[in-house]
Symmetry: C2
Subunit: 249 residues, 2 copies
DNA sequence: ACGCGCCTTTCACTGAGTGGAAGGACTCTA
DNA sequence: TAGAGTCCTTCCACTCAGTGAAAGGCGCGT
């Protein structure tokens, strides 16, 4: 290299990937300088690399100078084996659940100390839902997250409890309180949230169990839990049992 | 560069992308030499670049030495704006269609002279279906494809008719015959295929029209069309009209 | 034993990649 | 109207990251 200060171990490839991975659910459109900042690259370098990524069909430059992920990368990304079997099996059960509850239905797995959303069926738009397929959220503030956390190895729990970020005024941030809840979730077989991630949204979630292992969490988002919590839990458990059985067999 | 013969205009970025784009629906797992061959790179070069792509989290090396697209790239790919509005609007209509027909339901758009599948709901597994979300197929051999071709600009039609690849013994390969069919499709408002893409699979498809423009095609795949073609066409048209209306408004 | 696929490592060469510096376009605030 | 703040773009001298032929290792079939 020439110029000056260059981060050691920074190859062209790793830099290009840093640029691609600068996009996330909250940043689907980025300007050049945002890209450079988020990827930790000098502006002229980012300028050239982004130009090549556009030429190569990985990014698209939109009117206004904003960059977005290109359709071609969408196609390649869809080839990744992301719990393919589980998702395929879960689809019809999720459809049923969606039909009977008319709520937003989620299928998610744990990835480190975050929930990774695998699948989503949108419900009535009146309930605000932040998660999208492929997005990650903290474990402690969502229904599916708490289920997954309740069934995670001890070191994950310790790790997650160490930093309970506040999202809304109702997010659980006291480790003791959450630990208590996780206990209850294991005992009752389901988790609930009340405006812990999004104001105006409540959720119920249950584990999907294949054999002994918790392989995923199934959840729904509703405006309120006051009325039919029991019915929702029952519907979820039926679906989760169906998925688990099909998945194990 | 050093070594020897290097393709001009081949930067590290473009080569890395060539490696990523070497994956497609028929090649979800590739060995190093396959990757090198498909990307047009010397083996040692591919070896190093692939290593960096793995280190960067874009690819994963599986036991057995095969590479697959990594979860991280899946996440980024999902951020691409691929007819997002259309897909969201179409989802509930597709669900209804799926429930009433129990068939595989497709939503697709045209990309050049190919169909690009945007969304799919799997039906009974007994009917073989080759398309997956994100995959592309030739326009002339699928139901959704023929619909899109029937409503495509003249130059696209000319282009597509020039090379009608045979897929099965029933694929239409005579331009005159296809042109005739396209005429009929425009007149009747729907297209059918009988084992033209996959043996044992038939399909029906209709255009999704917003205002005057055909923005997509909606189709289903069934084992046979002998019995209830009329019912299927009607169900498809209801759904397509619903999508089109919601999309335009 | 030999050949033929795979994958991996080495290494001398050099041009592709680098990024500070400079400049242009545009929008604010003074 | 000047000045300071964004943003993006281009230039260009320096040099090290990238290159790929060659060679070597491993496994398998014959």
């Amino acid at each position: 290299m020439a110029g000056n200060t260059s981060v050691p171990g920074a190859t062209v490839v790793s830099r290009s990937l840093a640029l691609l991975f600068a996009f996330d659910d909250a940043h689907r459109r980025l300007t050049l300088s945002e890209l450079a900042r988020r990827a930790g690259l000098p502006l002229p370098t980012a300028h050239r690399l982004v130009g090549e990524l556009v030429a190569g069909g990985a990014l698209v430059r939109r009117a206004g100078g904003e960059y977005v992920v290109a359709r071609r990368l969408w196609q390649v990304g869809l080839l990744a084996p992301v719990e393919t079997g589980l998702r395929e099996i879960a689809a019809p059960f999720m459809n049923d659940l969606h039909a009977t509850t008319r709520a937003t239905v989620h299928l998610a797995v744990r990835e480190g100390t975050e929930v990774l959303y695998l699948e989503r069926l949108s419900g009535r738009a009146s309930v605000p839902v932040v998660s999208t397929v492929g997005s990650r959220l903290p474990l402690h503030a969502t229904g599916v997250g708490k289920v997954l956390l309740a069934h995670a190895p001890a070191e994950v729990t310790t790790d997650a409890l160490a930093r309970l970020a506040r999202v809304t005024p109702y997010t659980i941030t006291r480790p003791g309180r959450l630990r208590e809840q996780l206990e209850r979730i294991r005992r009752d077989g389901y988790a609930t949230t009340v405006e812990e991630m999004t104001l105006g949204a409540c959720s119920v979630a249950v584990p999907v169990t294949a054999g002994e292992r918790v392989v995923a969490a199934l959840g729904i988002v509703v405006p309120s839990l006051k009325r039919d919590r029991g019915r929702l839990v029952a519907a979820l458990q039926v679906a989760a049992r169906g998925i688990g059985r099909s998945f194990a067999g």
